[in-house]
């Protein structure tokens, strides 16, 4: 808590319309909707299918995720939150990125890609343990989707390297290779 004077100063600034003195990140809520044309979302509301997500080209092997059958409608919001997480991540605000992903996870808790993204953010933050566990959680929901599994094992490899577990990292690398070779 600040002293009263500081409070006055802040309030006076606000009163003078000088709020710009208080630096804030752009709000992630509400999130502007992405240009729909760039989001391939073929099976919305029609059971399992695949869709592209923002931040990856449709040709990238990482670009696909299963739609969760049970949350047919939440896709648009989840995509927007993912996109907002990507943006926050690009500006170095991993905390905001993680918050956006967690918000999306509340809507689609069994969306493997969201768990992968959260693992990636933790990796970025050098929280090796969480990166490792979250990638494992994503694996358990990936339903054998090789593209997601590859991403997760890459995260696991780096997380293990981060903790100094070189043997484990090598094993993870091997798993990536196997998956890339279609095994």
């Amino acid at each position: 808590m600040r002293v009263l004077r500081l409070f006055f100063v802040v309030m006076s600034l606000a009163y003078l319309g000088a709020c710009s003195g208080i630096v804030r990140q752009p709000a992630i809520a509400p999130v502007p909707v992405q240009d729909q044309s760039s989001i391939a979302y073929p099976n919305q509301g029609q059971g399992s299918g695949v869709r592209d997500y923002p931040g990856a080209s449709s040709t990238s092997p990482e670009a696909t995720v299963f739609i969760d059958d049970n949350q047919p409608g939440s896709g648009t919001a989840v995509l927007a939150l993912l996109e907002s997480a990507e943006k926050a991540s690009q500006t170095g605000r991993d905390d905001l990125a993680a918050a956006a992903i967690e918000r999306a996870l509340s809507l689609e808790p069994k969306n493997a890609l969201l768990w992968t993204r959260l693992a990636g953010i933790r990796l970025q933050q050098q929280d090796w343990q969480q990166a490792y566990v979250l990638a494992g959680k994503s694996n358990s929901l990936a339903r054998g989707d090789r593209r997601i599994l590859v991403q997760n094992w890459r995260i696991i490899e780096q997380a293990r390297t981060g903790t100094g577990d070189t043997v484990g990292a090598q094993a993870a690398r091997k798993r990536v290779d196997q998956l890339m070779n279609g095994q």
Partner: protein, 774 residues
Amino acid sequence: MKKQSSKKSTERSTRSSRKRIWSLSRVLQLMVIAVCLCAAYVSWLDYRIHTEFEGRRWSIPARVYARPHDIYIGQELARAGLDRTLRANNYQLRPNLTGPGQYRRIANGYEIYLRAFDYWDGQVAAGRYMIEASGGQVTRIVEVDSGEVLPVVRMDPELIGKIYPDHNEDRVLVGLNDVPPFLVQALLAVEDHDFYRHVGLDLRGIFRAFWVNLQSGELTQGGSTLTQQLVKNFFLTRERTFTRKVNEMIMAMLLERRYEKNEILLAYLNEVYLGQDKARGIHGFGSASEFYFNRPLAELREDQLALLAGLVRGASYYNPRRYPDRALSRRNLVLNAMLGQGYLDTDSAQTLKDRSLEISERPGGVQSKYPAFLELARRQLLQDYQVGDLQNEGLRIYTTLDPSLQDHLDQAVEKRLAGLEQQNTLKPGSLESASVLVEISNGEVLALSGGRDPAQAGFNRALDAKRPIGSLIKPFIYLTALSYPDRYNLLSVLADTKLSIKQPDGSVWEPNNYDHTSHGPVSLMESMIHSYNLATVRLGLNTGLDNIIRTLAQAGLDTPVNPYPSLLLGAVDLSPYTVAQMYQTIANGGYLVPLNAIREVLDNEGEPLQRHDLNIVQALDQTPVYLTNYLLTKVVELGTAHQLSTSLGPGMVLAGKTGTTNESRDSWYAGYGDNVLAITWLGRDDNLPTPFTGASGAMLIWSNIMKPISIRPLTLVEPETISWTREISLLFAGTCFEAGRIPYTGDFVPENKLACRSEWDPGKSMFNPFNWLR
């Protein structure tokens, strides 16, 4: 002589003039001393003002909020649900929206004028939003002014409680830009005409007040300036003495010399006493607005602002809840004063005077809207914060509570307990219950019921009532056994036959089935589905009590457990909250997330102090967890929780487990869909028997909770380690049952030793509910 006398007289005059000079200088000295003393005194007062005023810290109670409400495209929008949220959040239904905190219905949805609010990850600006729905789902969200289409929008969260300082002053700090100019005008009109012109004292004002009061015969105007009133409140006692009055005047002038008018005004607006709610003192216009109108100051109408300005003169005497007539005439007097001073014209003054008071029915900003949940939040906060910080620092605490789920929970408990008492001719009020609702993937506590009276803050059964959990322990036994795929799979044959075991204390324990029947050789799957005790005890003993205790600990049981065989039938006393933690781990695929009631804590200025990051632990191997989850869905589909399948609609896949203890002293149900887990306990505080099993008691409350919130059906995602048998038919409850394909893991394909060849007849005995009420 003459000379002498003249000399004498000269001497005398010199002496007297010396005397005069001496006395003059004495006087001067004294005056200098007095001036010095005065100056020293004034400097001392100035020093006091300087240090105390600037160093003054208002005690601001922490404000505790529910989770903000996300509205997103695709969301199921039971109209009543959003209505409830809007109402609970003090949004007013209006035909036309003029400002934040209002909404109206449109043909296919709502238009809402959202309030601005700061969350740790950004600000939401106030603005109008169209929420369009079709087929019960939100289809479009548009920000009206910009025309921008949005996928998700966040509504400001509901205030659910406060943590008050020891002296019980309630205060909601406002900044000058939060204060409507009308309020300041009203205040100046009745309290301090010349505020922006005087130097702290207003002699003309004193005379004018005297004159006006004399003329009107009422106490229309006060003689003290706002600055004097502030000084009195800040630094001085309430006693009416001359010294105090002089001090007040000097300090008022000093304050004016040191600080800007607006600084003084703002301090006044936040300091002034404006009401009392039992022990809670209402200080400042921010909290008064909340207390009397249940709305932020910026949303008040002009007549309401005039009333608040009028209360300064005597908040108890003009208390609008107790003396509405007095309050009304005081308000109108304020409006008249404003008219007289040119702040209002005759017509608008009349329009405002014609309005009724419209004080909120119940005082706003009261503590403990949901005392049971708040108790959990308080305990969690005390792990990281000192009590003093929570009481004084104006923290903003965002919790995980979903108020609409909490309301459903409270209603379900109240309704169902009364119904059960009536149906079973039990004494009304004899039953009690407790429930915990958790979001599975992040461990957030959505709602918590500590007893049948949601308003009572007393004994919190969800947190503190530790009761034997009965069959709720079984999934952990089966999970442990299934961790040894070379020894157990779902088709393993168990002997559901009598046994007696010598306990460590020398006594002999002879467990029994609920129906006092032995069922002979049964599959592991059937034993779980029908909650057979004897087969479970044998399975548990063969799996090893220590192994099972390890599983319990990994799942989140945080107290030591004795390795007695009776543990296998749930002879361990746990609170619903602990059970919720353990089931969260299974429901979340083996990933434990510590249950959590606090999302974020922000300081008084909106800067984040603490944020609860999602941290997960892989506590249990996902393969046996998957098999256990599969079994628990079968419990709902075919077993002891079968009634749920009918009450929540066909095709609703849920996982669950009933629990009943000796003589039905405790009735439990643990169940979950895709995102929500709920644990419910039902019993009596005096621990006497009840007529209820888990299925006929706690499960009915659970069902009442889940029905209106449209729980999402459970999708089980199988790990890569899972394989499936071919289609099998299985001897099940003495009948042939087409069990379909059965999941397993490991290299050994389960052998169907209880295979049958006879025709499956669904009408034969499978669905006799009386077999399953365990």
